[in-house]
Amino acid sequence: MKYIDEFRDPELARRLASAIAAEVDPSRDYRLMEFCGGHTHAIFRYGVQHLMPPNLRFIHGPGCPVCVLPMSRIDHAIALAVQHGVILCTYGDLMRVPASERRSLLKTKAEGADIRMVYSTQDVLRIARDNPSRQVVFFAIGFETTTPPTAVAIKVARAEGLQNFSVFCNHVLTPSALRTILATAGPDGVQLDGILGPSHVSTLIGSQPYAFVPREYGLPVVIAGFEPLDVMQSALMLVRQLNSGRREVENQYTRAVTEEGNRKAQALMAEVFKTRERFEWRGLGFLPHSALELADDYADLDAERRFPVTLGESREVKGCECPAILRGVKQPTDCKLFGTVCIPDNPMGSCMVSSEGACAAYWSYGRFREAPAPRTALS
């Protein structure tokens, strides 16, 4: 596959690994936060950490939309499905996320609620058209990457006059999370030397929104693609900035990211959404101006308004360290539940659900670190 396979080439990986090994200063640490779950996934699936020198460490960031969604929002979605009997449509990643009282969308569906996995917002529109007598709610979630497709669907629904379509909006804003991480970094928080900036988010918002990072926090940023060579090349670029004392926003992912981003999509988002006063992020707390809701002109398509629900208090699982992991201050293995009661088949926290979650990636791909080195009978 063009523009995929080339960026997974083992020979080039070897060369990049050698270059990084050659260029790192052995007397210092390179603590690089990969912002996105996409990076995390690539690092684990392809074994990238393996190819890095010991003093270059990837620290997993909060850039997994599923991971940062607070439990209360899953509870809310369940309430929509159960209390209003709507058809609740959502991306597959959300199905297993733990909700209060050991519930989840999956269990709620198994108990009879009409919850459907969709691949695209276009599927939601089709479902709404096909079920005129039912209310169809799209459980919208995601960063700026996934927000424009929701905006398109909202505009189409409005244009078609679809009365039974609405959106339970959980879109969040990347720069806000990044700012929070950096604001709490330091002696009590995560200690960072550089940032691998968002990949596909940046195709939409451009590289410009990260300018505050070097300016206000003195850290280098390299916007990094999601293929393993992208991650490695970006790591090298960060090493070079750090070695040379530069603190800039660089763009490794030039094939898809420009400075200004996708203006058409940005305009669409600006029309359909407005910024929430505040929104809760798992691990980061309530962040101001960190999420979107439907703009006033589209408020009638807002499922939160259309379907009032009764909610109990949401209670995170005791012992789950997702919040600290999402802030980069703990690792999955620091969690007592990791691999004991919490495994992907029985996730206790959101980081064990998505394949982009640090705990899930660590469990599924990384446990070999715990295993004794394999001894082959022949070798």
Partner: protein
Amino acid sequence: MTTDRRFPVRLDLKNGTVDMSHGSGGRAMAQLIAEVFQKYLNNELLAQGNDQALFMPPAGRLVMSTDGHVISPLFFPGGDIGSLAVHGTVNDVAMAGARPLYLAAGFILEEGFPLCELVRIVESMAHAANAAGVPIVTGDTKVVERGKGDGVFITTTGIGVVPDGIAISGDRARPGDAILVSGSMGDHGVAILSKRENLSFGTEIQSDSAALHDLVAAMIDVAPEIRCLRDPTRGGLATTLNELAHQSGVGMQIREQAIPVRPEVAAACELLGLDPLYVANEGKLVAICPAERAEALLSSMRAHPKGTASAIIGEVVEDELHFVQMETGFGGSRIVDWLAGEQLPRIC
């Protein structure tokens, strides 16, 4: 057509649908059996017309295996639930190194299911059974109310005879053994997914659904020392290797680059965010054999039309944790875990 005095009016196989009476045990059920099942599956043992088939088995150890088939969609590129129900059980019988002898088939039909589709499915079963030389000798039909089933479910059970001297079981892998696969991984699952309403994409990929007993026969001819055989169906290669590792109390070390995956399958997996190692196959097998027999076994597999793309993909290792580890194509190393959750519902 001779007319059966019991049924003055023939079933409307073009426009008719299944109704509850077809599972009632009465005249309507007898007619469905006569005009669909017996007609197409037609063989001597089925024609005994009893609630059981009677036969004289060849001498030797027997194996018995059963599999329910609940695939959605019922018809897919490269097969349908009928052919799949034959292949799926023939293969489970063959994975003991056995020669499959007979199949039984239990149908659970949903009220309202079109008879024309049932006929297509039963014809396809008959074709698959004939091609495999494994007749369906007894059966059963139930009908459930609409909304209590999904068109048709087929549970097949097979028996087969194991040649003397063959001892193939999931617990026999030993460190040092070679791990082989008989061809490309993930074709079946991707073919199914390509037809799912919400995911549909265009591809030439066909399910690999096939009966593998003849391949197995060729393999044990050359390498009777084969330790394990298993078809990597639900859960894919990754899960099958984990099963075998667990059962034998060993670890496995495989090489991603050695595992055959068609480019279309790889592309579809990229599109959907799937890993081909977890995608189902219905016409492939995993074999484990002593290392010194691996090349001979590989040659015999490649010489067989159902094994042309066979490959040695790794070796059995000692590992108290029974991990399957993989050298990635990228040059890294990682665990290949059991499938977690459900990657692809209703794939078989």
